[in-house]
């Protein structure tokens, strides 16, 4: 009996294998150059996360409009690809379908790209956030100098704080998130020496409940200005609103979540990088360069909430800070 079942399984498996092999290997479809420019993007979270993935999605929509709609550029996406090896499969698949540019929007995808890109020398790849192109000449890399907007937010928050305590909600203590948080702390401390900036990393990019409770903790500890980065902070913004504390956003504009309490947002404008990449591809360069979006090149924009009445002196200080970062008179010292 056991033998029988084993045989049966074997036969079934073989049958599956055979049917599979019968089907002709699908050849990579190489598109003619005449069609629209084709972009595929793989993102870890949802395109509507009001944070990291949305910033890229918005940029693509913007670029598409700039280029003249779907006739000039089309793009497809796979969002929610937090599983690294699923993302790798998606990247390879898009590349083999003849997309002109495949964007791997997540620092965890780099390793896969390093392996895939050499197999598709005619396809251009881009990934972020990092500066590492692995020395492969069809990979672009992009990164956000998120400490810059963090610094500006820190300056404003410290200027507005009456209690002398600020609170930060972070995901895990690394990468883009840590840069932003460290920038915020540096900005606040440079403006009001001795100000208390309490930092909390909740160990997750998705735990909205814990992020929100971390914000509550900051409020209970006396914070009257809060910030946080990554997609799980959406609940924390509500906590700021409920307790009449100020909120400082990053990655995408979060003003609509608390119209009376969001002061400013650092908004990523990946379209700045994307248009440079597209120009390079047009000129025949498929990679090898890394880009940083920052305040100077307009890849990061400080978006002030028009409905929030920022005192004129703070507004002036914020603008001077932005200018200082741009012209290099302010350098941001990041703590370890």
């Amino acid at each position: 009996m056991k033998k029988f079942r084993f045989l049966l399984t074997l036969i079934l498996t073989l049958a599956v294998l055979l049917t599979a092999c019968q089907t002709k290997e699908t050849e990579p479809v190489v598109e003619e150059e005449t069609g629209p420019f084709k972009i595929a993007v793989v993102m870890p979270s949802a395109i509507n996360d009001l944070a990291f993935s949305q910033s890229m999605y918005d940029a693509l929509v913007m670029i598409q409009e700039e280029m003249g709609g779907e006739e000039a550029m089309t793009f497809v996406y796979s969002d929610g690809m937090f599983v690294v090896d699923d993302a790798a499969a998606a990247i390879r698949d898009y590349a083999s379908q003849g997309y002109d540019l495949v964007i791997a929007h997540g620092s965890q995808y780099g390793s896969s790209l390093q392996e895939i890109a050499p197999d598709f020398p005619d396809t251009s790849f881009a990934w972020g956030t990092t500066v590492d192109t692995f020395g492969i000449d069809n990979i672009f890399a992009y990164e956000a100098a998120s400490q810059e907007g963090g610094y500006v937010n820190g300056v404003i928050a410290a200027s507005l704080s009456e209690s002398g305590v600020l609170g930060v909600v972070g995901p895990i203590e690394t990468g883009d998130a840590k840069l932003y948080v460290d920038g915020f702390v540096a900005g606040a401390e440079a403006t009001v020496p001795g100000i208390k900036v309490n930092v909390n990393y909740i160990g997750s990019f998705s735990d909205v409940a814990l992020a929100s409770e971390a914000a509550n903790t900051h409020v209970a500890a006396g914070a009257d200005g809060l910030t946080g980065t990554a997609q799980m902070v959406i609940g924390a913004i509500g906590v700021a609103e409920e307790n009449d504390a100020l909120w400082f956003g990053t990655q995408a504009s979060q003003t609509e979540l608390a119209p009376a309490h969001v002061v400013a947002n650092q908004v990523y404008r990946w379209d700045v990088v994307l248009s440079e990449i597209l120009d390079l591809i047009d000129a025949g360069t498929l990679g090898g360069t890394s880009f940083v979006i920052d305040l100077a090149n307009g890849g990061e924009v400080m978006d002030f909430n028009p409905d929030f009445e920022l005192p004129a002196d703070v507004q002036a200080l914020a603008e001077a800070t932005v200018q200082g970062i741009i012209d290099g008179t302010i350098t941001i010292e990041l703590g370890e």
């Binding site: 998705s206 409770e213 209970a220 500890a221 799980m232």
Partner: protein, 310 residues
Amino acid sequence: MISDLFSMTVLVGILASGIRLATPYLYASIGETFSQRSGVLNLGVEGQMLLGAFAAFYVALTTENLWFGVLAAIVVGGLMGLAMAFVTINLHAEQGISGIGFYLFGLGLSDLLFQKMLGTVETVKGFPKVHIPVLSDIPVVGEIFFRQNVLVYIALALVPLAWFVLNKTTLGLKIRAVGENPEAADSLGVSVARIRYFTVVLGGIMSGVAGASLSIALLNVFQQNLTSGLGFIAVALVYFGAWRPWGVLAGALLFSLINSLQLWVQVLGIPIPSDIAVMMPYILTILVLVLTVSRVRPPSALTKSFERGD
């Protein structure tokens, strides 16, 4: 720094936020207690919570009535419970796996509906904090217990109610009988299927409300995977509480209090790596169970399907 932990602000902060964090667990775990007491392990709590959370959020947003939102969560959670009951009771499907299936279904469907019906993260004005007159003015205690939103109060009130139903009513007796010895219960004329339908649907409803407590009372937003594993912790807490409502309350509070403690530990700048701090509630929950070696056995018929008279 460490001494700051014992200041009044911090203690009050820990307790108040511990009670908030415990609320979704309380609903889901008490519901799960009922279904497990009758012999059904429901691992799909997380999926039921997510659909309940979305339904509550969407209805509250569109009708601007929070109680309609709660009602929607009850209906949706109940329907999910009904499906789970049908699959495990009528079709005798393996309970753990069905639960995982319903979890995935709820995780995907809630996200899909969110993307198609809302499209972006929005906020809703959730249940406000209710300051209970007089009581909320008591120093310390007032802030901890009497300045919470209404769903927090209901969750706490459900604990004695659940205890009463399980231990002091005929229904409770039947539930326990069905979970311990379905054959005997059946021979005494108790319909095993009917009792289990009741508890599993109740479990679904409670999980739905647990979701609502997040989306329209504590967080007031909806996002894909809003619960982020809370549902699985809720199931675990039923084991912590040894299938008793008071035990579940103890577990939910312990877990949540340590969680808020670790948030404070970071806020106060006590030099522990953040990841290690985040581990604390999980480690300590296990440790407490180890130290209080329990002799309680699970309901004998837990996970076991019942087929009548053949």
